[in-house]
Subunit: 170 residues, 2 copies
Amino acid sequence: MQVSEAIRLKRAVRKFQDKPLPDEIVRAILNAGRRSQSSKNNQAWQFIAIRDKEILKVLSQCGEWAGHIAGAALCVAILTPEPTAKFQTMFDAGQAAAFMQLAAWELGVGSCPASIYEAEKAREILKFPAEWHLRIALSFGIPLDEGKLSAPLKKGGRLSLDEVVHWEKW
Amino acid sequence: MQVSEAIRLKRAVRKFQDKPLPDEIVRAILNAGRRSQSSKNNQAWQFIAIRDKEILKVLSQCGEWAGHIAGAALCVAILTPEPTAKFQTMFDAGQAAAFMQLAAWELGVGSCPASIYEAEKAREILKFPAEWHLRIALSFGIPLDEGKLSAPLKKGGRLSLDEVVHWEKW
């Protein structure tokens, strides 16, 4: 799948088939995140790849809109240093997340980011050390509705180019 | 270009040919950013697309490592709401930046993010209102060394999968 096509068609998928992802797809997704750009090549991230149904379920209760994690075939928790210390930290996490989601989409795998508001509850479950923090986790899986992978663009889903872009100055 | 290939080959480009980018490429890059995922579909971003050499030069002086902006054919300033108020803000900016950079790469256009440390100086130049903030701007252009677009992977540029990934728990 071409980059432009993936970007054009990619949409959030929150409902997944109850079907595991092959190991090579899981690794391709994680590798895409690992290869992503980061500020000064700091790679200030660690990923926890979760397929255990019980852990997925508990993690899905760590954010008001994180319920989709429970039904995911794979969740990637993106750990970062303290998120507010540097503005690059969450920016770089976002770049890694986008790479993982586009790589997944090409392989027929849908995804959606979830905000983790109950960060300390998540820490208890996943046992990561104090210097790492979890704010965003990504759900992955084969879309329950596979038609989503090639569905036409919804009208009105995004601001128009004119609403978003200024030329030369504001 | 396939998504996986773009992700595998994409690297930072900071030196560009002194050659303008066609309008359709500029629009394709901006559209990729606009289409990117955002928390609750907030699309909490505005982009300033800059091609004016004088503005590029002054903006390149707003960050210690932002010098590459001066030689860019296009700079996209990613404006966000106050970056520390929500952790999703810079995460979403990062997702949009990744989409723009991968879309550009497929079109033979290199890029690099620059941190804008002198945010108020940037505001004076670009005239954006108080509720918007600029922390990251992206340089785009045809790589001075076009070989960069298909160069083999450098060894040691990234942490290995084993250094980055934990399985199920930390």
